[in-house]
Amino acid sequence: MGTIAAIAAAAVLFLSCQQQTPEQELIRKTDAVGPWLAALQMAGEKWTVNSVPATFVHTSVDAAQKAFTKAARETGRSDARTDLRDHLGRLIAGGQAESARLRRAVAAQDRRAAVPAIRGLAALHADFEALSKAFEEPSQ
Amino acid sequence: MELVRDVLDKQLIDREGTKMGRADGVVLEIRPDGPPRVDSLTLGFTVLASRLHPRFGDWFARVRARWSVRKSGRYRVPWSVVEEVRQHDIQLAVRALDTPAFDWERWLRRHVIEHLPGASK
């Protein structure tokens, strides 16, 4: 068992010594944003075709807002380049605005109002994907 | 018979077939004029605690004395009531409910279980 523990400790040390730039670190800490944008888009689409109930969209938006707030905090705290931080900040603010718009449309049972919100989320998601791809950690 | 393998830690069964605890400890009597004999089996958390470390056992006994519903921390089963040592359990000639081994069980039945709805299936 001693040998195993030693190997494990060595592996942990080795992997934690791999340096990350502040930009990569920020991308990693905010990596929940993209999946949430995509999930809200899907929830919105499914709501418009009656596949999910309105309450599900509400609670999903609430959960996503928490993740957005956390990501915004990380962005504010980060030492990453200003252009990346500004870009991320705009994306997160956009996500907060579009998800709130989706939530209002769903609450009002207004399918037509939901469509632009869903489109907005899709555009933000595409933008986010491109951004994180640009800063992705090189894999071994 | 091997005392560690066949007696220590074995399930104890009472006269009515109720599982009444395990042989948490075995007490030997060292006699001046003959081979040591098995004096009794002991049961209880205090016995278990002192198996981990004697000092832990003493500490546990003090804490227990303050809180427990039992009068004594260890219950002694004299060898004379051991009827048979079988492959998987030890048959005793007592009734579990009459012994201190069931103090907690009795207390729970009387003070908790009886007050809950649907205690019999």
């Binding site: - | 560690v4 075995v26 009597e29 006699r31 004999r37």
Partner: protein, 102 residues
């Protein structure tokens, strides 16, 4: 000397030395026999082999090692339990080895 009581579970694992202070092994099993109403101790078994015997497994076999050592058997009258913390043989380890069955 009058009768004294000793816990089996505290005896198990104790290191036994012979009168010369040499290690004989640790107590790992106690053999007893029922005689009438009493259950009397016949011998003590010392050493790692006794542990394996007690676990009833060939732990060796599990990792592919052959099962080698027989436990050292100590007749009840050859073990002095005057101080249960420090059990002592009444004979030397060599005498005991010479007396082992087989």
């Amino acid at each position: 000397m009058k009768a004294r009581k000793v816990s089996l579970e505290r005896l198990v694992g104790r290191l036994v030395r012979d009168p010369d202070g040499r290690r004989a092994g640790r107590i790992l099993e106690v053999e007893a026999e029922i005689e009438g109403d009493d259950c009397l101790v016949r011998e003590y078994r010392l050493g790692a082999a006794a542990l394996l015997q007690r676990l009833g497994i060939s732990a060796g076999r599990l990792v592919g090692l052959p099962f080698r050592h027989e436990p050292l058997r100590v007749p009840w009258d050859q073990l002095d339990l005057g101080d249960p913390e420090r059990p002592r043989l009444r004979c030397t380890v060599e005498e005991l080895r010479a007396r082992q069955p087989r």
